[in-house]
C-alpha cells in the first residue's frame, strides 16, 4: 500500500504545545516538508525566537539555537558566517521581528545575509497574552489597546514585506497566508523558494505568513481563519514583493 501522507522526517514525533486552532503547527509542518523535499535536514540550522515558538527547537530534527528576543537574525548571521555551506533559517513572530528586533532584521536583510526568515504575523503578542503588536490592525482590540488601536495614540501597523523590499540585500520577499488549503499550498511554495534562494547564495530571503491567534483574538479556530481572511489580507496584500523571477 502506498503511503500518501506522513509526518515529515524534519519534524519530531512529539505533540506541539500550541493552542487549538493556532496556525504555528501548519507553518512548522510546511518548513519540515520543505527541508525533507530539499533533502537538507542534515545541513540545516534553525534559530528559535522568543514568543510562542520559543521552544520549536524541540520540534525540528535539525540543529537549533534559541535566540534572545528579536536577535535571531544576528544569531543566524553568526552561524551562517561560520558555516557558509549550511542552510540557516530563523522563525520569528511579529513582536520579535517587527518591534524589539527591527534593527536586527533590517540589517541582516540589507547585508544580504544568506539566511531565510519565516515571519509569523498574527497581529498580536501571543505568549504574553494578547498585547498590541507592531502589526496590530487599526481599531483592533488587544490587552494594551483595550479601546482599539488608534493611529493618533499608537501609530500605524508596520508592513514588513513592503519595508524590507526596499533593501537591495533582501532578494526574495513574499507574503503568504495559511487561512485555507490553496493559500497553505502557496505558502509552502514560497518557503521552498526562499530556502532555494539561500542555497543558491543569492542573498536574504523572507516569507511573511499571515497567521491566526484564536486564543488572544477571542475567536474559535474557524472564526479566526475567517477574521484573518476578512481583515488581514486586505491590509497586508499577499504576493511576491521581490525575487519572483529569481533563478534558483
Amino acid at each position: 500500500m502506498a503511503t500518501v501522507f506522513k509526518r515529515p522526517h524534519a519534524l519530531k514525533d512529539v505533540s506541539l504545545h500550541y493552542c487549538p486552532g493556532c496556525t504555528h503547527g501548519i507553518v512548522h509542518r510546511l518548513i519540515a516538508e520543505v527541508i525533507d523535499e530539499l533533502d537538507i535536514e542534515g545541513k540545516t540550522i534553525g534559530v528559535s525566537p522568543v514568543g510562542c515558538a520559543y521552544n520549536n527547537y524541540e520540534y525540528f530534527n535539525c540543529d537549533m539555537q534559541q535566540a534572545a528576543h528579536g536577535r535571531a537574525p544576528a544569531v543566524a548571521t553568526g552561524i551562517k558566517r561560520v558555516h557558509p555551506d549550511k542552510v540557516v533559517f530563523t522563525y520569528q513572530g511579529d513582536g520579535d521581528l517587527a518591534a524589539i528586533g527591527t534593527a536586527e532584521i533590517v540589517h541582516a536583510a540589507t547585508r544580504g545575509e544568506k539566511i531565510t526568515t519565516v515571519f509569523i504575523n498574527n497581529a498580536i503578542y501571543g505568549m504574553t497574552s494578547g498585547q498590541m503588536a507592531p502589526t496590530t490592525l487599526i481599531n483592533q482590540v488587544t490587552t494594551t489597546s483595550p479601546y482599539g488601536r488608534k493611529p493618533e495614540l499608537h501609530g500605524f501597523p508596520i508592513k514588513v514585506c513592503e519595508l524590507l523590499s526596499t533593501l537591495e540585500g533582501a532578494v526574495y520577499v513574499e507574503r503568504v497566508s495559511v487561512h485555507d488549503i490553496k493559500n497553505i499550498m502557496n505558502a509552502k511554495k514560497a518557503i521552498k523558494k526562499a530556502f532555494q534562494v539561500q542555497m543558491a547564495n543569492k542573498g536574504f530571503s523572507i516569507v511573511e505568513v499571515l497567521s491566526t491567534c484564536p486564543t488572544n483574538w477571542g475567536l474559535s479556530p474557524v472564526e479566526a481563519l475567517k477574521w484573518l481572511q476578512d481583515n488581514m489580507v486586505s491590509f497586508y496584500p499577499l504576493g511576491n514583493f521581490r525575487g519572483r523571477d529569481l533563478e534558483v
Binding site: E41, G42, K43, T44, I45, V47, S48, Y54, N55, Y57, E58, F60, N61, C62, D63, M64, Q65, Q66, A67, A68, R71, A74, V75, A76, T77, G78, I79, K80, R81, V82, H83, K86, A103, E104, V106, H107, R111
Partner: protein, 353 residues
Amino acid sequence: MGERLLMKGNEAIAEAALRAGCRHYFGYPITPQTEIAHYMAKKMPLVGGTFIQAESEVAAINMVYGAAGAGARVMTSSSSPGISLKQEGISYISGAELPAVIVNIIRCGPGLGGILPAQGDYFQAVKGGGHGDYKMVVLAPCSVQELYELTVEAFNIADKYRILVMIMGDGVLGQMMEAVEFKDKEEIIHVDKSWATTGTGMKREHNVITSIYINPEVLEKHNQKLQAKYRTIEEKEVRVETYNCEKADIIVSAFGTVARIVKNVIKMAEKEGIKVGLIRPITLWPFPTETFRKYAEVPKAFLDVELNAGQMVEDVRLALEGKRPVYFHGRMGGMLPTQQEILDKIKEILKKG
C-alpha cells in the same frame, strides 16, 4: 625567540586573537578600542575569516552567540557604554555555556561619561552586569605584552570551560605602544565541540543551544551545574602577581594601568626606607582571595588604588576579613593618580600607626 613588534595595545589584542585561531570578529565602533576593529577588518579577509561591523553592540554580541554556538573561536570588543548594551547577550551566552572572548577597553562613566581611561566597570564585570547567576572569567592585563599573552589564554580558558572570558583593559593600555614579543607558535588547546550546531549530517541527534529551561527542577540543576563549574574555576584559574610583599610595611592592591604606577611608587618609597608591597590581581574573577589572606597579617595596613570610586576594594576587604585596615585611593573621570600622590597617601596611612 619569536617576532618582536612595536604595537598599540588594541592591535596586540587583535593580533593575539588571530594567532589564537579566532576567525570570527563582530564589533561596533566606540572609542577607545576601535583599532581592534580596524585591525580585524584588514586582516580577517586575508586569513579567510569574518569581520562584520554590526548594526549595534546588541547585534554584535548575538552574532558572537551564534558563531560560538556553531563551534567557532569568536571575539567581540567594545568600551564601557557598548559593554552595557552587550549585557543581555552576555547573560544568554553564559546561560547557554558558550565559549567566547569579549574585550572591554574601559572609558569613564556613568552614561556617555568620557573617552579617557577608567576602571569603573569592575562591578559590572565581576559581579554580573546581566541578569541571573553567572560568572565570566575577567582578565586584567597591565602591559601590551600581557594583552597579547592573556588574549591567547582567554580563548583557551573559554574553550576549556565553555565560558565567556573578558579581557578588561583601559584607555591607557589600549592606546599605548610597547614592544611585544610574539611566540613562534601559540599553545592552543583543542577541545571536543560535539555539542555545537554544525548540522547533524543525519548522523546524530540534533544539537540545541539554549538558555531557557522552563521546568524549575531542570533549571535549578542547570544552575547548580554552572555554580560547580565556577567553583572549579575559582580553584584552578586564579592568576595574580605579588611583589615585595614578604616584609612590607604596607601592601597596595591595584590592577591594570594603576599597578604600573604603583610599581614606580615602590621604588620611590624604598629610597625613603618604606617597604611597599603590591598584590596585582590578574584574574579579577576568580579573585585571588587566598593571596590576600596569605599576606593579611604582614603589613600594618592595605591600600587599594583604582580608577573609580572604590570597587575592587570591596573584594579586598572581604578577603582580609578585617585583619588589617584597608584604605582606598581612587581617581575618576579619566584622571590618573600621580606616583607622588600615592606615596603621600602611603605616608599618611603609616603615620597613623
